[in-house]
Structure formats: C-alpha cells, structure tokens
Amino acid sequence: MIHPVLVKKQRFILGIALLLILVTMIGGMGLGYSSLSYDRLLPTLMGQGTFKEEFVLYSVRLPRILITLLAGMALALSGAILQGITRNDLADPGIIGINAGAGVAIAVFFLFFPIEAGSFVYLLPLVAFGGAVLTAFFIYVLAYSKNAGLQPVSLVLIGVGFSLALSGAMIVLISASDRTKVDFIAKWLAGNIWGTDWPFIWALLPWLVVLVPFTLYKANRLNLLGLSEPAAIGVGVSVERERIHMLLTAVALAASAVSVTGGISFIGLMAPHIAKALVGPRNQLFIPVAVLLGGWLLLFADTLGRNIIEPSGVPAGVMVSFIGAPYFVYLLLKK
C-alpha cells in the first residue's frame, strides 16, 4: 500500500547513508595517532602492507570502526522500537534507564567480582545485558497498571526516575573504591568505546543479525501499535504481548551495544527521528534508514572524537552528546 515514489525515495536515502558510512570508514582508517597514509590503505587491505600498517589497520582501527558502526546501528534500532511502543518521540534507551542499568551492573561486577582477563571480556556484555534487562523489567512492572495496561507516559517518567536513581547509586559505588577501577568505570560512563577488539564484534554482530530482520518482520505490528491502543486491539494485535516482545528486543539491542561502547545516549533518539523526517512514520521504511544513520552517526562522532585531542581523544559518548543535546532541545522546543 506504500506509494512507489516513497519506496524509491527510501532506496535513494539508504544509498546515500551507505555511501556516507563507506566514506567515513575509509576516512577513519587513515586518521589517527599512528600514520597510515591513504595510498597505503588498499595495499594493506590486500595483504601487502608492512607489519606496522597491518597492525594499525586490523588490530586498532578496523575493529573500532566496526564496533562503533554496529553499536550505533543497535542503539538506533532500539530507539526506533522504544519510540514505537511508547508512542513517544523522546524515548531513547538512555532516557528510559537502560544505559544506567547496564552501567550499575558493570560497576558492581567490576568492583566486587574477581577478574580473570580471559573470561572477563566475554562476561562483561552478559553482565551489562543482565543489568539492562533487570532495569527494564522493574520499569515495566512499575509503569504497568492493571486496568490501563502499559502507560507510555509513565514508562518514560519511571525510566527517567530509574536513570537518575541508578546514576546516584553508581556514584555511591565508585566513590568508595580503588582509583584504577574507578577510572575504567568513569571512562565507561562517558561512552569511551572500550571494547575495540574482534571478540566484541562477534559479541555484538549476532544480536543485529537476528534482531534487525525480527524487527522488520514485526514492522507491521509496530505500525499498528502506533495507532491508539483500542484501534490496535480492534484489528487483532495482542498489544501486551507485542509490547513485551518489542521491549525485550529493544533492551537486548541497547544492552549489547552499551556493554561494548559504554554509556552512549542520543543515538537512539536522533537516528529514528531523522529517518522519520526523511521517509515518514512507516516502520518498514524508516527502520532501515534509522539503522544506517545510527551506525553512521556514532562512527562519525567517534572518528571526530578520537582525532580532536591527540592522543586519547574525546569519548564518543561525549561527542554524541555534543551533537545530541542541542537536537533534543530543538525537538522539545518544536513540540
């Protein structure tokens, strides 16, 4: 039923987004503390680089580029889903408390459990995931009323409340602990992409491979959930069940992304928003656009951030906030 002209426009925008990603990736490969000139990129990719060139490309830059790209995609999709099920354009995994939940879980785990270097890397995403799911569960339970079901407004409000409370808890936790450990957590909170190695890519990729098609499969239901609740029930959507499925999907995506990148918000807010402004509110059309834009935004923010101040750079989360906060204010004012 979607107009062919609109579908063409969406394809065109998808093409542009892919191009932007490609250009930023290539740009990012050549930028950084260690030099790897652009005319050496192709030979290095073909396996003819020097040891140093290959190390810089394959062990430093490429993993980081892919991680930011994938995490941005996951956050954008998560935000798109949350905006859909709460019917609130300001919903975002960060605002809804999922980031803070993952953060506290990581802080508790990092501070109180003995660390073995080998398994630590693989446990962290699981821990963050658990923290986020637990937080989402509590928010859902508190926002749920027996008669009226899940109230989108209370979901957002309680989410914001949880986010603040958990941030407070985190400060209590880290203020009483060892300096070096606090350092890691503080960087995590600022959204300093810390998981920049291939295993983290393999930890993140499966979520996207499974959940992007799953969400597109559910796109029609999300469209219907965007109507009023009685209308959605009337055409036979099991509103409560779909909301829980989609909420779980959104939590899984945000948690898996946040667990390797650290606390990054605003991507989940901005990407779906820009996508909707470009191609309209139909989930099957705007979700792919939002996913690509989200990936590009975080990649772009991180590429800028890590090159602004040498050598440590500005954390991606901070860069995103530089762009995101004014956008958020703009949205509020427009409303």
Binding site: N220, S228, G236, V237
Partner: protein, 282 residues
C-alpha cells in the same frame, strides 16, 4: 439465540465499579445504540464487549465462546471497532490506514494480497473515500477522516461493527452522513452495528434497538418506541421530555425538555442572587 451477549458483566477501574452486573443481548443484523448520561458507563460497556478493557466478573459471549479466552486475531475477523476519536494516523495515506484493517488476515511480513487490495478499494468505495486513497489522512476534514476510519473497520470484513460516538466533533451534515452510511451497511449487508451515541434523536432515528444505562445499570432495553418515552428519559437523564414524532421518519423524537423539578428549583434559587449581584454593580 443471539450471537453476542453479556452475562452479568461488571467492569471497574480500581474499586470503582462503572458497569454493574449487566446482562444484555445484542440483536443480530440490527443497529443497536447505547444511550445514557455522561459517566453512566456506556463507553466502558462497549470497551468491555470489544476486549479493549477487561471485565472484573461475568462474561461476554460471542458465538457461545467467552471473548476473554478467544484468540484476539480470530475475534478481529468477527468484530471491528471504531474507537472514540481515533488517532495515530499521522503521515499515513487513507489507503494505508484502511490497509491496516487487513491485519487479521495477514501473516509474516504483512504483504497485501490481491484479495486485500480488492477489499481495501471496496471499503474506500463504500464509504465514499476512494478519491482520498493517496491523500494523507491528516489533510482530510473531520467527516472525511471519520469515514476513512470506518473504511478501516470495514476492511476487517466483520459481521459486527462497534462504534464509540462516531459523530463526535462532526457538524450536523457530516453526522448524518456517517449515520446514513452505517444504516446502509446494516440494511444492504446485514451487518450488526452497535454504537454509543450522545444525541437522543439520532439514536431514535437510526437504532432498531436501544439500551439505556444509568450508573452502570440497565434502565431499559428495547425498540425506540419502548425506550424513547418520558418515563425512561426521566429516569436516565433526569429530564422532563416531550416526545413527539419525527414528521419525516415517523420515529419518536424529543421535541423539548426541561430539567426535573427538583433541580430546576435549585437553579432558580441561584439565578436571582446572580442578578442581584450584577444589579448592585450598576
């Protein structure tokens, strides 16, 4: 035996019961209207029958099966709902909105089949909205928009259609347009229509069967000749009504009405005081 009935149904929010032990039978292939004053539970009853809200006790039976235990998609093939002041269609075209009504027949990614397209065009055609197919719903007038929403309900191809105050916010001509459309659907396609209406005379003119509620309980149910009578209206609306006949449709209609004596006196007491106050200012 009618297809749709409620059995001792109670609905409430928290401890407050809005609908109390209500048993009604909805006549098949007729237009049924639920009337009553504000807050009497008429919308709540409609929502309970259509599973939008759950009821605390009793049961709602459709074809002998309890709707709270029935698969919601199967129910959506049997009954469609036009909610009160529907919303959320921002950015969609009329055709797309109507295509959402095909949801109960779809699986997987929701690709529309040839049959779906035929039904969508038919629903737009019947409601006189085919020309808006590719226009955004936001850009339509209130009456046009309401007809598009009705088309969406029609696209569900159900025998039973519920409407919660379908004429709210419409001007008089558009109100009539919507009600006549519903009447045509009932007469020509034998669809059972159940709606909540505010306007007594519209209820009397279009309904075959009227259910009058007060404080969540049924005062009277029957044909309009049985329900639109001074005694019932006195009980339901606390009005003293003069009932005549519509010279065109020969249906009963409320020509004029006053508030009941007790309340009228109260108002009269207040009014002179107001005048006295105003007078002193001059």
């Amino acid at each position: 035996m009618v297809r749709l009935l409620t059995n001792d149904v109670s609905v409430g929010y928290g401890d407050v019961m809005i609908v109390k032990h209500l048993s009604v039978q909805i006549p098949d292939q007729k237009i049924t209207t639920i009337i009553g004053s504000n807050g009497c539970g008429k919308s709540t009853l409609l929502k309970a029958i259509t599973r939008i809200i759950s009821h605390q006790s009793g049961s709602v039976l459709l074809d002998g099966r309890d709707i709270s235990k029935e698969n919601t998609k199967i129910l959506a093939k049997k009954m469609a709902i036009l909610p009160q002041t529907p919303e959320g269609a921002a950015g969609l075209t009329a055709g797309e909105l109507v295509s959402y009504g095909r949801f109960p027949y779809q699986n997987g990614f929701g690709r529309l089949t040839k049959k779906d397209y035929e039904v969508i065009d038919w629903a737009l055609e019947v409601t006189g909205t085919l020309e808006y197919k590719f226009r955004p719903v936001d850009a339509l007038s209130g009456g046009q928009r309401q007809r598009v929403w009705i088309a969406m309900a029609l696209a569900q191809e159900t025998d039973i259609i519920f409407l919660d105050e379908p004429t709210t916010y419409l001007d008089m001509a558009h109100q009539l347009e919507v009600l006549e459309l519903l009447q045509r659907l009932n007469r020509e396609q034998q669809r059972t229509i159940i709606m909540v209406l505010h306007d007594l005379n519209q209820a009397a003119r279009f309904a075959d069967y009227i259910i009058a509620l007060k404080d969540g309980e049924m005062v009277k149910a029957g044909t309009c000749a049985e329900v639109i009578v001074p005694e019932v209206l006195r009980e339901v609306f606390q009005i003293d009504a003069v009932i005549g006949r519509d010279p065109r449709t020969n249906k009963p209609m409320c020509i004029t009405y006053n508030l009941l004596k007790g309340e009228k006196q109260q108002h009269e007491k207040n009014i002179p005081a107001l005048y006295a106050h105003a007078g002193s200012a001059y």
